[in-house]
């Protein structure tokens, strides 16, 4: 796998592979720190493949005597994880597509169109970023109940189909597209929609990837909202399912760790495949603000 790229900037040519006491020390410190950070994951995976007799041992057993794959089979069979996965995929993909669409449209309006009340509306949108989501928890729950959407996909997806962060982030990108391009398109008789779809979107791929990834990540890992609007196994996304699994089978770490492992595997896989976009996205989000 290629090394993740560093951010574009004028960096001096690296003095790579400088052997010396200082650099060895740096490596040691980093290695030790990373080992500490990754220790929980080792515990998770090693417990998930330990046979039941080796879990509660004194002293702690670092390496299991054999790979107890039956833990995974048992965990999978004790709860409808297949359904949980399906739910998560459906919910997260829908939300991400929704956010990308609504954010692109709104960001375009804010950055490339003139309309009455544009600045005021933008400030209003920004203001909501300051409000903690918990203020909206109770009223949204009441709204969902009144609409009869409790324990449905609507409740899980609809409230998250737009994101102020997404709008803001894309606006920055769209704003940097030269006005000449837009003028040329107008002269050619293109509508705003055509300009957006044909020119702006292809030019803003990094923004779309970033917003898409962050949105997907947030949706996949979401807990508070899905927790309160779902009550039956059929509707639970994977993380809420994992939680209810721990309520029932919490006394059996081998099952719990197996479930935890295969719950994080998809996102981890996605992360490793697209890590440069993840990392660049977070970094950009930090800088742009």
């Amino acid at each position: 796998m290629a090394q993740a790229l560093a951010l574009p900037s004028d960096m001096p040519v690296a003095r790579r592979r400088r052997f010396g006491a200082k650099n060895t020390l740096v490596h040691l410190v980093l290695l030790a720190s990373v080992a500490a950070v990754l220790l929980p994951y080792y515990l998770m995976v090693s417990t998930s493949v330990k046979p039941i007799a080796e879990i509660f041992t004194d002293p702690f057993k670092w390496i299991p005597s054999r790979l107890a794959w039956e833990n995974y089979v048992d965990a999978w069979n004790h709860a409808p994880f297949g359904r949980y996965f399906l739910n998560s995929v459906f919910i997260s993909v829908s939300e991400t597509l929704g956010v990308l669409a609504t954010s692109a449209l709104a960001a375009y309006a804010f950055s490339r169109m003139r309309f009455w009340g544009r600045e005021a509306l933008f400030v209003l949108f920004l203001g909501t970023l300051m409000i903690p989501g918990e203020v909206q928890l109770v009223p949204n729950y009441i709204t969902i109940v009144r609409l009869g959407w409790l324990n449905t996909y609507y409740a899980l997806i609809v409230p998250w189909l737009a994101s102020v962060f997404g709008i803001f982030f894309m606006r920055q990108f769209f704003a940097s597209i030269p006005q000449e391009l837009q003028d040329a398109a107008t002269v050619d008789g293109a509508s705003h929609l055509t300009f957006l779809w044909r020119i702006v979107v292809p030019l803003s791929k990094p923004a779309f990837i970033t917003v898409g990834l962050l949105s997907f990540l947030g949706s996949w890992n979401a807990l508070t909202w899905p927790l309160i609007v779902t009550n039956t196994p059929e509707m639970r996304p994977i993380m809420v399912g994992l939680l209810s699994f721990s309520n029932e089978w919490g006394t059996q770490p081998r099952l719990l760790m197996a479930a935890a492992t295969f719950s994080v595997l998809p996102i981890l896989a996605l992360f490793f495949l697209l890590q440069r976009y993840f990392i660049q996205g977070i970094a950009r989000a930090g800088i742009k603000f």
Partner: protein, 304 residues
């Protein structure tokens, strides 16, 4: 004649553009209106009532709920717990993240692997992380952490079950989870500092520590400021960690404000009181953020 016609067609065009713009905004605005703006107002209205969601009788209590907050020991406990958590976790994470970012900024081989490793906890969900940490923090001799400290001769601790250790234990998990994100942001900030500054400093004979203090820190201050504000706001909203690790205990020592909102609203169905607590949280976050701005913004050095 023609002037008038042109003016009115211009007006029509502008009107059309307005309508078109609003059409572009509509999808996002509709969702945000219903699920973000309206709830903010509705929450305030509900906070003035005493209501359990099904009772047709909903007495208006005005500021009664807010007044009750001031004398509610449980809420005040949650407030102090949350403040403790936020201050300690943020003040520990930022220097650590900055330190690691500086180390990672050296052009040695393998840096990106380290950075990826630090970042993994940010990507995995809190539910899974909490489960593993709960197992790690097992209070008896079977817990991995107790095993490790036993190797250095310390007796097994109760960790999440000990009122004094529970919150620090949660803070540790929080640092573990967010350090990667902060490292990445700091790294980006560091790499944005022009090397000319460092070269100039070297020519003037400055050593590593001095250039860190007089060049890196000031030029990094916008980034630091950003991380500080965002981390603090996020820390005040902590909920998932105590929910999965300690259930708010022991002795309510890990009860946080959002946890309290959840309890009041979704376990005791005190919708009015829960909404009042949510607004109180907003007020706290607002005040803290404004304080931070007042104190820190003047110290932020922008590279002009």
């Amino acid at each position: 004649m023609r002037g008038l016609a042109r003016a009115s067609s211009r007006r029509r065009r502008r009107l059309l553009e307005n309508v078109e713009a609003w059409a572009f905004l509509l999808p996002a605005a509709a969702v945000l209106a219903v699920f973000h703006f309206f709830p903010i107002l509705y929450a305030f209205y509900v906070s003035l009532l005493k209501w359990n969601m099904i009772d047709p009788v909903r007495p208006f209590v005005g500021i009664g709920n807010y007044a009750a907050l001031l004398t509610d020991e449980k809420f005040l406990t949650a407030l102090s717990n949350t403040t403790y958590f936020a201050v300690v976790s943020v003040l520990l994470t930022i220097p650590l993240a900055l330190g690691f970012a500086v180390l990672l900024n050296r052009k040695l081989s393998g840096m990106s692997w380290y950075r990826t490793a630090f970042f993994v906890p940010h990507v995995t969900s809190l539910a899974a992380a909490a489960m593993v940490w709960h197992w790690l923090y097992q209070p008896d001799q079977f817990g991995l952490l107790n095993y490790l400290i036993d190797r250095v001769g310390l007796p097994p601790q109760r960790w999440l079950l000990d009122p004094a250790q529970a919150m620090p234990a949660i803070i540790a998990v929080s640092i573990w989870g967010s350090i990667g994100r902060d490292i990445v942001i700091f790294l980006a900030g560091l790499q944005n500092i022009s090397p000319d500054y460092y070269e100039a400093a070297q020519i003037d004979g400055a050593n590593g520590v001095q250039s860190f203090r007089y060049i890196t820190l000031p030029l990094l201050s916008p980034t630091t400021y950003f991380v500080l504000i965002v981390s603090m706001i996020g820390a005040f909203k902590v909920f998932a960690l105590p929910l999965f690790l300690t259930g708010g205990g022991p002795l309510d020592r890990t009860l946080t404000i959002v946890y309290s909102i959840y309890q009041q609203g979704f376990q005791f169905f005190r919708m009015g009181y829960a909404s009042a607590q949510a607004y109180a949280l907003f007020a706290v976050i607002f005040v803290i953020t404004m304080l931070q701005r007042r104190v820190l913004a003047p110290r932020v050095h922008y590279d002009t």
